[in-house]
Amino acid sequence: MRKSLAVLLVLVLLAVPMAGVMAQGDDDGAGFECPTQGGTMITAYGADPRTLSGLYANDGNSLFIVTFMAEPLILGGENWGDKIEPALAESWDISDDGLEYTFHLRQDVTWHDGEPFTAEDVLFTYEAVLLEDNAISWRANLMQGDEPMQFEVVDDHTFKVILSEPNAAVLTALSIPIVPAHAFESTSMLEAPYNTNPITTGPFKFVEWNTGESVTLEANPDYWRGAPCLDRIVIRFIEGAANQANALLAGELDFARVDGADLTPFENNPDFVLQTAPRDLMRYVGFNNLSPIYGDAAVRRALAVGLDRQAIIDISASGYGLLADSVFNQAVFMYEQGRNAQYEYDPEAAQQMLADAGWTDTDGDGILDKDGQPMHLRLAYSGTWSLMQSIAPIVYDNWRALGVDVELAPLDDAQVYEEIYDNVSTEKPYDAMLGGWGLFGPEPDHYRSFYADATSYLAYDNPEITAMFAEGRTVTDEQARYDLYAEIDSKLWEELPMIPIYQSVGAWVYRSDLNIDAAELNGTFLTGLKYSGRVYFEN
């Protein structure tokens, strides 16, 4: 088992650069010939979706299904991959002042009901998102401060976005699934029938939703990248990786992501293929940077050195994780492995670093203190999230060993919001928290709300970093942006407003007669598939 895990990890590390090379080979993915045609792929996700509208889908259950059906103008937004690439927009021009983005839309796209896709649909979508009553979470993407972006339909297939100030993050901000204007009576869509009966442009179209059971999708033969190889995709609702793994073994599923379950039955099993890929998800220890003790970067660095993060990967993620060396997920465009020196686990060095920061055990009670104040740390986390439950005892033991008086605080969901995510102030009792975030894609500007906003739950207030993030929006030259964000990356790695533990590696298992090579396994999409239309059954 140990050996095969190591082999798997090596494969994962190899897969990262390989995927990059493959993607460069074909830009829009058109012109793929299906080796075989037909068949139904049965996959699974946790539970009923909350919605089938791409505009409202922001939970995993909904996003998973929407990703098979809907498309944005450009890939690269949240849940839409790790690269800015053309989708419904073939290409775009940026004016010299960086204020006007002109998108040239594909002319060969039709909606699933046969209507042509035009710039009016794009305008309708963005206007609906901006409508405050619709309560669509993407609204913030289209706002510049208090002002909305301006949109203009130039002709049927040309669409213009006008900004009041340069915003280099606008491409990923606009990466929102487009909905058809003709399917709605008005831009008010909170109660629209579309939300349960969507019309989209993607490789698969909606057929039916059996509440509590499954959602069935059918191939879109007119898909602009070419007709999908499969006839149908059925998404069954099965809660938990262990249950999905059992369903795979029982032959009830063809494809599923089952990391976290016991994968031994799939290893060296001729009936299944087990493939892994890094996911755009980070697990971390966040600090309440307003706390007088943990507001000190030297203390945070010491705690990072004193945390056996590899042990967390081995124990809590069964080895399916990449040791983080950046406070950004690896999907960001300026990520480079090895740029930052790793905080190697070394409890003695950590103790020395704490002593250098003034924390020593002067009264001999086994707990560090400074100016008579003991080093207490309340670690808050969701007590209903089993991953966090399994990480907490490791943090507890590692930091206790340094002399930190760790108090574990497993909270229920309402308490998590009350204590952590809702407005932060010094009153908040937590010193540190366990969390996970992700699906942010290639644009580092997404992290602004955590690292450059003193009102975030990390309460991290660093004017230099805030200024650099603000500058990052105005720079349009790619190299200059790269250099700027690389500098932010290095600075934040020194500062550690949170300790990134590891980035998840997904484990996908599928029937060995299913071929997903051309579909490109990509963990930055929730479905794990970049081109779901190119999945096919081998004869």
Partner: protein
Amino acid sequence: MSSTAVTLSQPSQKARSEWRLIWRQFRKHKLAVISAVLLIVLALVAIFADQIIPYDPNAIDAAYARGRPQPPTAEHLFGTDNYGRDYFSRAIIGLRVSLFVAVSAVVFQILVGVVIGAVAGYFGGWVDNALMRFTDIFLSIPSFFLLLIVSGIFGGTIFTLILLIGLLSWMTVARLLRAEILSLKERDFVLAAQCIGVSGRRLVMQHLLPNALAPIIVSATLAVPYAILTESSLSFLGRGVPPPHSSLGKMMEDAQQWLRTAWWMWVVPGSIISAIVLTFNFVGDGLRDAFDPRLRR
């Protein structure tokens, strides 16, 4: 006159021989005796847990475990869990926590139950009526679900657990004691005591309660396994002892995902729980028989 003297001196003598009779009867119940010995051993282990444990029960050895529970060896008698924490040390600390919670909860429930039962039985009338309806209200509460909810709200600390388990299970004792006192109250020796003007407090403390001791002891003994099981169930559902500390139920919860691959994860806490529950039941059984004069020969 001399006969009065004899009768007066008899109670103390009789009390002594009464206990000797009980002990003689209890001794005949072999299972109960073995159980009692085992219980004493378990109690000693719990009391001297800190001296016995070979490892810090919360210390992680990731390199040893490599993410999987490791089987028993000479260094780790009961193996380790998937964190590499010594399961023997965790089991002993778990035993202490579980026993402490259970015994304290039972002491608490006996105190509440005795007060309510004695007051209701002694005063009778509307006091009795009110207290018994109050008891009925508590009896009608599905206590386990209330426990789940309340422990969810107040969070699991050992003391809330003790308080909760105790508060939700005093009713049996209260009813038993009330019935016992109602019947004792009509006995001649009580009437006699009342006639010579013994005060109410003294009557209860000296005549009624000592004579009602038997059912209290038996129900206390039988209440411990119930408290152990409640604590284990709550911990199993993640509502018991706070992490990372161990209790027997918490260990069962940890074992959940390794049922098929690591038998020691559930066999260890499972056997300890069963052993405690069984031994307390046997001892309780033995005591009940021993207290019952009809079974004596």
